[in-house]
Structures are given as C-alpha cells and as structure tokens.
Symmetry: C2
Subunit: 414 residues, 2 copies
C-alpha cells in the first residue's frame, strides 16, 4: 500500500477511535494479549527467520538477544498489554472549565493526538508496546520497525489487526511499514497532514536522522550523557554506591551515568574508593589531570569524552573547584536527560535542582530511576530529552493533547 494511502486511512481510523468507549478499548487489548499467547508458534516461526537472517549477517550476540523472542518473552508482552488495559485512561478528562464575563464556558479537554508515527530499531516488543499505548489513548499508529525484525513485526502486526477486527474495530488503527527502506522512512517523516507526531526510539544515529529530516513534529527521545556530581559535602559511601549503581547496574541504557564530576575538597576521601570500585568492576576511567593524579590507570579525557554516551564500561571524570563550575560543566555537556548531586548541603542541593537544565534532576539517588515505571506512570513509550510537549519519561498523558471546548448561547464578539 502507498504511504499516503496508509496515512489517509490511519487518519480516518483515528477519527473513529475517538468515539470508542473505554471498556471497548480495554476489551480489545485483552483480546490482543490472549491472541499473542495463542499465536506463540506463529510468532516464533517468524522470529526464527529474523534470527537466521541476523546470524547470516553476523549480527553481534547482544543485538541478536534483543531480537530473539521466546515463549516467556511473548508471555511478557501479553502481560504488558494486560497492564496497559488496567491503567487509567487519561482521554476525555476536562482539565479546567471557567465561565468568562460574557457567559462563555471555556473548558480544556484531554484528547488523543490523532496519528502517531513510531520509528524504531530491532526490538520487536516495541511493536506491541507502542500499539497498546497508542490504542489505549485512542490514537492510530503507523509503525516503522527495523529491517532486522521485519518478519517478527509483520506477524505481530497481523495479530494486532485480527484482534481489532474481532472487536469490530477498524484494523486501520495500526499500520506497519513492510518497506523498511530509508527513502520510505524519510517520506514517512514528511507525511504532514496525516501523521500528527513522530516518536523515534533507538540509537543516537536514528534520532538524529529523524530530527534532521522530519517536517512532522518530533518528540526526541533517548540519548543520555548522564552525570553524577559528588559535592564537597557528600556522604562518601553513598557517593560510591550511587556511582556504582548509575554506571554499572545496566550498561546499555540511556539513564546510565556516563560522566563523573567531583568537587576538589572531597577528592582525597572519595577518589581512592571510587577508582578502586570502578577498577574492580572493570570500568575504564578517562579524566582530567587532577583525576589522573589519583591513579596511573586513568587515561586523559578529551573534550569529546565529556560529551560521549559510552553505553559501555567507560566513564569520564572531571574535578571542579565549585558547584558553579560543576553546574556549568554539566549544562554544557549533558544531553538534558538525568543528572544527580550527592550532597548533604541544603543550599547546594537546591541550587542543583534549580539550575541543572535536564529532564530529571536528582539529589542523593541513582540516575537509573528515570523510567516511566519507576516514576509510577505504569507505562512508558520513551524518555523525551526535548522540552516541547513532554519531558522525561512519557506515559499515557504524553500521547494526548488538549482542545478547548466552548459552550455558548449565541455570543458574538463586540
């Protein structure tokens, strides 16, 4: 099917999704969960074709693992869909309604975005996740997954469409691009009038390509060059525990710590402990001269190191003379994702919270908590690192917009 035709049908479907009741939407999600489990064999057969192709193309084992589905993982997907069905549905809430002096009643109502375009990489579970969150909020969705997982995605999209039909809902509520070429992806990014918002999920290259090429509004997600700042007044053991957790608990995630900032006045107490903990865990450190003075294992950090999201057992480190220098360094180098200060100084904690320009700013906690589930949203479609529309972990509300509804009795403007 032509992309424009898909956009047109998805737009029409989005109009009809608005009229669905909440129980009807939830029932359809429960049908989908059951159908996923019942079609396990079919999904695994399709996934095996993707895995076979990946192995033939010498895909690294870490990527193959993300791509691989099992009975357990399919059960996990279905459970995720059931959880979305159980969430509160934000659509339809009237956030405020006020009477104006002329008697007009002006209300602000939460409504779906319309048609959402998702562009993502090799994890096939995103196909089901994205559909369930978009559908829960009465949005139609056009999915463009990676070519690596095309067979898995086609099988999953087929099960989603059948689940919609079983519930007498238009299957045009979801489309999957079977053509995974770059040209078609670029055309999708410019489908103004049909797609209301694009959400890219994936590595820095994918995100950059969408930001550069899209004319449809984009919610930028993902890249996290997150910092831990160990203040002069830090609890040393807490600092070491937080750095260990933020850097090493999981390496390949956007809320992992990539860069360390240490106040010079606590360096003698904290640096030996920090460096030995990092060394024990096989983590390379790249630092400035004052950090290098604490260990011959520390390589010299370049300007680029301070701006790098390693997603690996590497961390950059910088020593500073003041919290002002720490804040300036972090604001200059971070990607606006998550940063934390370790301190017992009240004023410094407040200054860090106020002056750090990131989606999530912590005092005395690991950056690893930046996550829709950890924040209590019950779902997450991505983590926004831009300032427009949604910032930080995005739950169901991020998939909605508002409109003004105005009740009159013949008012005209004088």
């Amino acid at each position: 099917m032509e992309l424009e035709q898909m956009g047109k049908l998805a737009k029409e479907a989005s109009r009809s999704l608005i009229t669905l009741s909440k129980p009807a939407k939830n029932q359809c999600l429960l049908t989908l969960a059951d159908n996923l489990v019942q079609n396990t064999d079919k999904i695994l057969t399709a996934n095996a074709k993707d895995i076979e192709k990946g192995e033939a193309n010498h895909m690294p084992e870490s990527l193959l693992d993300r791509l691989r589905l099992t009975g357990e993982r399919i059960e996990g997907m279905a459970e995720g869909v059931r959880q979305v069905a159980a969430l509160d549905d934000p659509v339809g809430e009237v956030l405020s309604m006020k009477e104006r002096p002329n008697g007009l009643l002006v209300g602000k109502k939460r409504v779906p975005l319309g048609v959402i375009g998702m562009i993502y990489e090799s994890r096939p579970n995103v196909t089901v996740d994205a559909f369930s969150l978009c559908f829960k909020t009465s949005n139609a969705v056009i999915l463009r997954g990676g070519s690596d997982s095309i067979y898995s995605n086609m099988a999953l999209a087929d099960i989603i469409k059948k689940s919609l039909e079983e519930n007498k809902i238009t299957p045009d509520a979801v489309f999957l691009l079977e053509d995974t070429s770059r040209e078609t992806a670029t055309r999708m990014m410019q489908l103004n009038g049909y797609i209301d918002v694009l959400i890219p999920r994936g590595g820095a290259g994918l995100i950059r390509s969408v930001v550069q090429n899209a004319t449809v509004p984009v919610i930028e997600t993902g890249t996290g060059n997150c910092h831990v700042y160990v203040d002069a007044a830090a609890d040393v053991d807490m600092a070491v525990a937080i750095v260990k957790n933020a850097k090493l608990q999981r390496l390949g995630v956007c809320n992992a710590c990539e860069s360390l900032v240490i106040h010079k006045d606590i360096a003698n107490q904290v640096m030996p402990k920090l460096l030995s903990m990092l060394k024990e865990n096989g983590c390379e450190v790249r630092g400035d001269e004052r950090v290098q003075a604490y260990s011959s294992d520390v390589a010299a950090a370049t300007t680029e190191d301070y701006a790098t999201e390693y997603l690996d057992k590497i961390i950059s480190a910088k020593m500073v003379d003041s919290i002002d220098e720490a804040i300036a360094h972090i604001n200059a180098n971070s990607t606006g994702h998550s940063e934390t200060i370790v301190t017992n100084d009240y004023r410094n904690a407040q200054r860090f919270l106020n002056e750090i320009d990131s989606a999530a700013v912590y005092v005395n906690a690991s950056t690893r908590f930046t996550d829709g589930f950890e924040f209590g949203f019950g779902a997450e479609i991505g983590i926004s690192t831009q300032k427009l529309h949604a910032r930080g972990p995005m739950g169901l509300e991020a998939l909605t917009t508002t409109k003004y509804i105005i009740y009159g009795n013949g008012q005209i403007r004088p």
Copy 2:
C-alpha cells in the same frame, strides 16, 4: 555578530534568567514600559525610515498601517508590557509531588523553555510583546522580524537591552537579527542546541517555510480555515448573527469564519436570510449546487475553495444531509483552528464537541473568541494549530516546560 555566537550567549543568558526573582523580572518590565514612552521620539524616527522605505516600495496601505507607529500605539505597547508584569508568573510551580514505594519523592516542576526563537513579519509591536512574554517566563529570546520593520525593531531592541542593563540583568536575554536575509533565517531554524523552540508568526507562507526548514522544534501557529455549521436544529436568527460576526467583524484574522456548512433541513429557513445578510455586507459566496439554487449571486465553489483561508469578504458554503457529513467535511478541510456548531440539539452539540478535531470547538458562539485575552489568559504569543505542546491560544504557560525534581536519600536501583 555571528548567529552561533548569539545562540551561545542567549543560552548562557537563559541559565542566569532562571535565577531571577519574580519581583526583579517585573521591575525590569516596568522599566521597559517607561523607557518605551520616554523614547517615543527615537522610536518614531526609526519607524519613519521603515514607512518611507515601504512607501518607496509601494507597500499596500493595509500593510503600511500595520507597520506604522504613533505616540498612541507606543503608549499601547507600554501598557501591554505593564499588563504582562501584572500577570501571574507560572514558572517554579510544582505541579505534583509523590512519594514512591522506595521513598523517592518525585516532583514535576514548571520551568522556562530556555531560548525561544521568534520569526515574524512586519508588525513591530511583536518585538516588544514577544520579549515581554518570554522574559516574564525567564526565557531568553532571539527575534527575527521582517526587513520591512528593521529600523523600528532595532530601536525597540535597543531600548529593551538598555532596560535590562538598568536592572543589572544581562542584555543577552534578547537578540534581534539585523541580517534579515532568508539564508540567515534558515540557519536560525537549524540552530539546534541553542534554540529550544521556534515560534513563527505571520502568513501561511512564512509558517510553511519554517515547518519545512526547521530542525529545531516548532510551534505552528496561525492559519485558520474556520467553519460555522448551521445544524438542522439551529436558531435561525442566532445562526445569522454568528455567521455575520465570525465572517465580517474583522476580516484579516485567523479566527474569522471562512466556510459555511448548512444542514439541508434548515436551508429553506436560513439560506435566504444568510445570503441577504452576506450580500448587504458585500461578501461574495461560493457554494455547491444546492447553495447556488438559493441565489444567482452564488458562484460555484471548487474543491480548493473549501480549503481556502480567504481573509477577505468571501465565504465558501456547502450543504449537507447529516451531521456526520458536516463533521467529515469540516475535519477534512479545516486547518484545526476554530469551528462552531449552531444548534439546539443536545446530542449534536456533544457530537460536534467530541468529534471535531480542532484547537477550539464551539457550540452557539462566534469563532472570533479564540484568543488568549478572550479566554482569560491575559496574554497571547500566538495561536497554535498543532497538537504538540500547546494547542489553541498560547499564554505564558505555553512558554514553559516541566522538569522532574527527585529528592532521595541514597536510593539505588535494585
């Protein structure tokens, strides 16, 4: 000054604006209001150069009028700035704060966007309006006005910078591009990393150019192909009054009605009155065959007519057999700005409010009320017709974003 350098300085300024107190910001706005009035002669001298250039270029009188400043208009600008100073400042409000099971306190705080880029056409008052709204919300702003008003804009920007300095606030909180070339405007639209959001204000061509060329997130404003739908159950006199007001009270505005939709069952009662009212007011009607049957004055409407924002004494008209057809026609042709139904039927009113996909949807009132002041926001930086971030009239809140602030006591992720 190089554009990148401006961006860098504006970004730095935005960091320091966050630390300003609310009274300090308001005091600076009051200084600006006084300085505008005190420098009336200087502003008028600069404006005269723009007017002279406009006359030499045979600029139409309507545009010259928008460009022309007078003592009274400058007093009006100053009064606008004083009103902004008096508004509630939304920055800093914590919208919610909840404790998670692990003891983390997760709060959502309203903060400035950072650096806002405004791209606008010939009205010099936008220079002062945009600065005052951005500054009130602790944002730095880069202004790119039209070449037509460059002398006026330079004089105004100079007075703004001096008012900042008098209040010991960095003058880098505002920049005006003196180079008004297209090339520089395009580079401004791609100043990612420095500009957080672009707000274009102007005609459809300007908006389209920004949407097509920007890589920085954009808030699309403006174009309004607004509809009045006269339902079968309409009060006929109310319908005529609302059409008259929405179409004719002011022609060149985005919330004016451009297209009429009439239910066939009320056509015999309403069409003669509507057509004679429009004729009396010199308004041309372009309709389908069923509309044409009511008067030989009605020209045939093309598909394009139904999609056109005339901003003139012309209106398109279409007759429909049902509210379903009316809703489908409006959703297919509107620009998502403002639409109204005239009806006494409860169910049709509810359906229209629910199913019309526009920023402002009315029952029994003129579309002309879509305006930040009419909605009670006390200010307006534009009217968003997109769904991301802000929709409809944008007041101070639209110039803010949120960030998560998280208070911990050593939490790490298990």
